[in-house]
């Protein structure tokens, strides 16, 4: 009997016939397909990023560029380091003592991993949406106003104007315009997530980091958020971690495939999903493992 290991897809033997499931459709207007990647402006440039949870290394020399006003999807099986990578980009991992990153993450001309980085300013410019909707224990209005009040000095009328604008951009205004004074966590899960997006974009960041933003919400709400991502990318650079390959194919321009802490392949979403060059990528996107 041959010992087969399900979790090691590299051990596939040549010469055997294999059934290849149909490839995922990539929407035609994906900008990743035809454009000259090198000529695009970098928003964030990551070089040689290593990450450690205590003594355990989770990322190994990640090098990747996130292009301005593009959606970059980060895909890969559970535990491959995609969330870890994302959490390095706004240094949210600094909340935990035993986590550390080394290497270089260039944003706005500086290495944000440097000690002297002003984390408050960094996080104003790089917003984050989490897997679980996490409205603050305050009203819908105050949730969206949180970042605005934190970073800007605004008159009352300007504040409410901007809150309204953020809620409109997040495609949730019509659902909450009569509930602005109700607690944020009284909304449904999908609405809460869009509220969190509104909260993040209200302070006008440059980048939005999304860590599996749809994994805790229903399909209808997911569709709304995907639509929203497509709308937001004209103004923001979006990094989207997802375990849903269809989602990556639907909304992203570029896709990075992570496996065991390494970036196996990075390219336009069209290429990654239609003709991946790496075997592991192909096996993953065709649903052979992960």
């Amino acid at each position: 009997m041959v010992d087969t290991k399900v979790d090691e897809p590299t051990q596939i033997q040549d010469g055997e016939a294999m059934v290849v499931p149909p490839r995922l459709e990539v929407a035609e207007d994906r900008r990743g397909a035809g454009e000259d990647f090198a000529s695009l402006a970098d928003e964030i440039t990551v070089r040689g990023l290593d990450f450690f949870y205590g003594k355990e290394q989770a990322l190994f020399g990640n090098t990747i560029e996130f292009k301005k006003n593009r959606v970059t999807a980060v895909i890969g099986p559970s535990g491959c380091g995609k969330s870890t990578h994302l959490r390095a980009l706004n240094r949210i991992f600094n909340l935990y003592r035993d986590q550390r990153a080394s290497g270089e993450i260039m944003f706005n001309g500086t290495n944000i991993l440097a000690k002297e980085t002003d984390l408050l300013e960094l996080r104003r410019r790089i917003g984050m949406i989490f897997q679980k909707p996490s409205p603050f224990p305050m009203s819908v209005f105050d949730n969206v106003a949180y970042g605005l009040r934190q970073h800007y000095r605004l008159s009352r009328s300007e504040l409410s104007m901007r809150v309204e604008h953020a809620l409109k951009r997040s495609a949730i205004w019509d659902e909450v315009k009569h509930k602005l004074n109700e607690p944020g966590n009284a909304l449904s899960g999908g609405q809460q997530q869009r509220l969190c997006i509104a909260r993040a974009i209200a302070a006008e960041p440059d980048v939005l980091l999304m860590d599996e933003p749809c994994s805790a919400i229903d399909p209808v709400a997911t569709a709304k958020i995907e639509e929203l991502i497509l709308e937001l990318k004209d103004k923001y650079t979006i990094v989207l971690v997802t375990h849903n390959m269809q989602q990556a194919a639907r909304v992203s321009d570029y896709t990075a495939f992570f496996f065991q802490g390494r970036i196996i392949e990075f390219g336009s979403t069209t290429n990654i999903f239609s003709c991946p060059t790496e075997k592991q990528t192909e096996e993953y996107i065709t649903g052979r493992f992960g």
Partner: protein
């Protein structure tokens, strides 16, 4: 070939013999009966205590009990515990004023800043030890630092002794409750570019406010019925508290309080004094019960987040 494992073949095994059900059912019955008996016994003892205190205490409850001061003449049949009730409320409130803010901040440190650091671990160990210290030792301690040097008893010394008992309870409950707040909320707050203290106070503590109020109330309940720490500090007095300073004041002299008065009354050979003690016991019980009910109500509200 595809990466799918074959179904493992079962090794050759003899058919399994069934175990009898009767034995297990009997064991179940025995355990059930014992736990019932245990529960009934426990409840019966408590019900008996409650019944005695109610019957005897209610007899002492009259207008004089709630309006008059402790009788100076042990033979008289008038007098009440009004001054002791007021004194207990003042001493307990003083303790709460000292211990709740400090305990809260200590809890915030443990949960938010210290976490598993060396300092936090040692503070946690110290609070555990202090929680186990008998209250009479706390009373002697307060006597040594506040009564002996100043040459007089005082309500304030009593408050300090009670605060010393409340502090670890407040710190640990605050820590436990803040630890219940999911980390996502901390991360979300920090990801907005808010500084840590702001996230802690405006987001985390707000999310946990129900539990925090519950914790503070529990800390008050913990000390409301303490006698030993007051024996050496507030002592007791047959008079009303006269203010802050001076021999009858909060800082200046002994202050009447429920538990010490109950002690005095119970020690007394005179039936009226004993009756007053019973009335005081009932009052303290009702007072603590009321606080507990308040805690329950607050806790239910606190669950909403």
């Amino acid at each position: 070939m595809s990466a799918v494992a074959e179904t493992p073949q079962a090794p050759p095994m003899a058919p399994m013999r069934r175990r009898s059900v009767t034995g297990r059912k009997a064991a179940d019955l025995v355990v059930k009966v014992f736990s019932w008996v245990g529960a009934l016994f426990g409840i019966a003892v408590m019900a008996f205590v409650l019944y005695e205190v109610m019957i005897r205490g209610l007899k002492a409850w009259n207008v004089a009990f709630f309006t008059q001061t402790w009788p100076l003449d042990p033979m008289s049949t008038s007098g009440g515990m009004a001054n002791a009730i007021v004194g207990t409320i003042i001493i307990t409130a003083g303790a709460a004023l000292i211990a709740i803010p400090i305990g809260f901040m200590a809890g915030v440190y443990l949960a938010e800043y210290g976490r598993n650091g060396r300092v936090a671990t040692s503070i946690r160990m110290v609070t555990n030890v202090v929680m186990g210290v008998p209250s009479i030792i706390v009373g002697v301690f307060a006597f040594a630092i506040l009564v002996k040097p100043l040459q007089h008893y005082s309500g304030f010394a009593g408050s300090v002794a009670l605060a010393f008992l409340m502090l670890p309870v407040m710190a640990r409950t605050t820590e436990d409750i803040l630890n219940l707040v999911p980390n996502e909320l901390r991360e979300s707050g920090l990801a907005m570019g808010a500084p840590r203290w702001r996230v802690t106070l405006r987001v985390i503590c707000k999310a946990a406010r129900g539990g925090l109020i519950t914790g503070a109330t529990l800390a008050v309940v913990r000390v409301a019925g303490e006698t030993a720490p007051l024996l050496f500090t507030a002592l007791s007095s047959p008079y009303w508290i006269t203010g802050l300073f001076g021999p009858g004041g909060y800082f200046g002299g002994p202050v009447a309080n429920m538990t010490k008065s109950i002690w005095d009354g119970a020690q007394s050979p005179y039936p009226h004094m004993q009756a007053l003690a019973w009335g005081g016991a009932l009052f303290i019980m009702v007072f603590i019960l009321g606080l507990n009910i308040l805690v329950r109500l607050l806790f239910q509200r606190g669950k909403e987040w």
